[in-house]
């Protein structure tokens, strides 16, 4: 965990009409970390994620990814940055007109650097890496289950070997088993490939099992960002409800970091 931050958000304001979503928000992610963004519905997690991806422009403030200011850099540089990150959207966002294979192959084909045979081999490696059988390569996204959609979407997000991966609600809509398997997959891949992860999530189990640091979005800013035990000790109504309610206690009891407490 050394070097310059991969993502650095400074003095961010997001305003929709009269509604202030983010007020002077600061947030940063160091290389190799897994940082989770948590917050209630409407706290602006997804908005913040979309701003870090350059899909939305903040009202005020700066967002730097790999040290480059996203909203003021020139288009060529921004395009290069976009090849260095991978994004897993909440509902997968697989291209419904393309098969699983073509979905994963698309980013590689867009590089115009590799021949079709090579791309086929890479796609099979990636399918294998996310635990999908080769048989599913020709399946259309509409015929996949929720868990498989997430896996294929993850394979697509990882196909350009990103240094930074954004996960938006990675386990939303999955049953506990597939959710656990998916979290384990992300954790294993993170250990193997050592990318940085920024994740927005509601799911306490996911949060507890993969995050290095947790950023809590409430009152229009990041009220606390730190290790699980630091966050839990911080006194804030949202944190009390979220982590120290019954569900929260159950999830925390499984966390190795807190068992000494």
């Amino acid at each position: 965990m050394s070097g310059a931050p991969v993502v650095e958000v400074k003095g961010l304001w997001t305003v929709y009409g009269d509604l202030v979503v983010h007020r002077d928000l600061d947030f940063s992610v160091m290389p190799g970390e897994v940082v989770s963004l948590v917050g209630g519905s409407g706290s602006g997690k997804t908005t913040l994620l979309r701003q870090m991806l350059g899909l939305e422009r903040p009202h005020r403030g700066s967002i730097r990814v790999f040290g480059v200011p996203l909203h003021t850099c020139d288009a060529g540089l921004f395009k290069k940055i976009r090849k260095r990150w991978g994004v897993l959207f909440q509902h997968g966002a697989l291209y419904s007109a393309l098969s699983v294979f073509d979905n994963i192959a698309l980013p590689l084909r867009e590089l115009h650097a590799f021949d079709a045979d090579f791309i086929r081999d890479i796609v099979i490696v990636k399918l294998d890496a996310v635990g999908m059988d080769k048989r599913h390569a020709s399946t259309m996204p509409a015929d996949l289950s929720g868990g498989m959609i997430k896996r294929v979407a993850l394979a697509r997000a990882l196909v350009l070997e990103p240094e930074l991966v954004f996960l938006d609600e990675p386990t939303a809509g999955l049953d506990p088993d597939s959710s656990e398997a998916f979290v384990k997959l992300v954790r294993d891949l993170h250990i193997k490939l050592n990318f940085t992860v920024v994740m927005a999530t509601h799911d306490l189990d996911t949060l507890v099992s993969v995050s290095d640091r947790i950023a809590v979005l409430a009152d229009q800013k990041v009220v606390v960002c730190g290790r699980l035990d630091e966050v839990v000790r911080y006194d804030h109504p949202f944190i009390r409800d979220f982590f120290l309610g019954e569900r929260g206690r159950r999830a925390l009891s499984a966390a190795p970091a807190l068992q000494t407490n």
Partner: protein, 374 residues
């Protein structure tokens, strides 16, 4: 240490063995622009099993780099290989995901015959399904007649507004222009033979009997047919159709019947409207070209165009309306939950309904060929 570009060096060790050194960044960012050159450099380094491969100087490595090397090795590890421990997993991935070559599908023996057969099969299935839908709608209509509480009045009036009232502007514009153009062209010819007064017959019969209904129906097929198909298609994608079914609400009764009834009511009225405006356009042009007054034009109209033509036009409106609604709903219900199918379904719906309108018009023209002449 700065990251260097990927490089391949071949040296010969003291004992005469060839050593291939790979160094620098072998990741996607570096390989993106150099894949072909490096591939040929690796191939020039000789067969995999002969040399010692030294991969310890590689600074950055990923699946793409590993696959590039793996493929030049012929998909197996060389017997002598020096590799950084943390790079091991990339070759592990290549090994475990051994590619299977998919056998190409056997070519069809009679492609033309097969295509013809598939076409006939598809068309007959469409026709059967449309008939089935029509039958279901008749049953629904009978249910609605017996149980007045089920009558979907709100949906019906909303559809009348969308399909009928909102189309008044565009149909008037198109009708007026067609009337003007037709009148202008005919006037030129009629003046040559001094038969100016027959402009009323040409325009009257042509517009009321043919052009009004057909032009209006084509506009509605493009405008409302596509909208109905797309709406039903998106409702399929978002599972709204299933949500209706599980509540025990009939899709056909609640969604399709009111739309079909609305088109069957609105289209004949639109046909009258379009024909009327087109006749006004014709009269304007006749006044300008032939100096025929409006009074003269419209008072000659009843004699030139027997009343039955009007009913023929209105009847065509009803038939075309039912056809458009049936085809639009049929293709809407067949849409699969993906974007491609939505696009293809909407296109097919519009093309089919316009074709169906023209075919039906031709059939009606033949059936009523000796009706309505003065």
């Amino acid at each position: 240490m700065p990251v260097r570009d990927p490089d391949v060096q071949v040296t010969v060790a003291g004992d005469g063995a060839r050593v291939v050194h790979l160094s620098g960044a072998w990741d996607i960012r570096a390989l993106e622009s150099r894949a072909a050159a490096l591939q040929s450099a690796l191939r020039d380094a000789g067969p995999a099993q002969v040399s010692l491969w030294d991969l310890t100087q590689i600074q950055r490595f990923d699946h793409i780099g590993a696959m590039l090397v793996w493929r030049t090795w012929g998909r197996c590890r060389p017997s002598r290989l020096q590799l950084n421990r943390e790079h091991e997993i990339f070759f592990g991935a290549c090994e475990s995901a051994e590619a299977v070559a998919s056998a190409p599908a056997a070519p069809d023996r009679f492609p033309l015959l097969l295509a013809l057969g598939r076409g006939v099969w598809a068309v007959s299935r469409h026709v059967l399904e449309i008939l089935e839908l029509f039958g279901q709608l008749l049953i629904d209509a009978a249910t609605v007649v017996r149980q007045p509480v089920l009558r979907p009045w709100r949906e019906f009036s909303a559809a009348i507004y969308k399909i009928g009232a909102q189309a008044l502007g565009i149909t008037a514009l198109v009708g007026f222009l067609i009337g003007v153009v037709l009148s202008y062209l005919s006037a030129e010819q009629l003046r040559l033979v001094g038969a100016d007064v027959f402009i009323v017959n040409i325009l009257g019969v042509g517009i009321v009997r043919e052009l009004g209904p057909v032009v209006c129906s084509i506009l509605v097929a493009g405008r409302s047919g596509s909208a109905i198909t797309a709406q039903l298609g998106v409702m399929r994608v978002t599972e709204e159709l299933d949500a209706l079914s599980v509540m025990g609400i009939s899709n056909t009764l609640r969604l399709i019947l009111p739309k079909m009834a609305a088109i069957a009511v609105a289209l004949p009225l639109l046909v009258l409207w379009t024909s009327g405006v087109a006749l006004v356009g014709g009269a304007v042009s006749a006044k300008a070209e032939l100096g025929m007054s409006f009074f003269q034009f419209f008072s000659a109209l009843p004699a030139a165009v027997p009343e039955v033509n009007l009913w023929l036009g209105v009847g065509k409106g009803v038939v075309f309306g039912v056809l458009i609604a049936l085809i639009a709903c049929h293709f809407g219900l067949r849409i699969q939950p993906n974007t491609e199918s939505l696009a293809a379904g909407t296109t097919r719906s519009v093309v089919t309904s316009i074709t169906a309108v023209i075919v039906a018009d031709a059939i009606i023209a033949v059936i009523f060929s000796d009706v309505g002449w003065s």
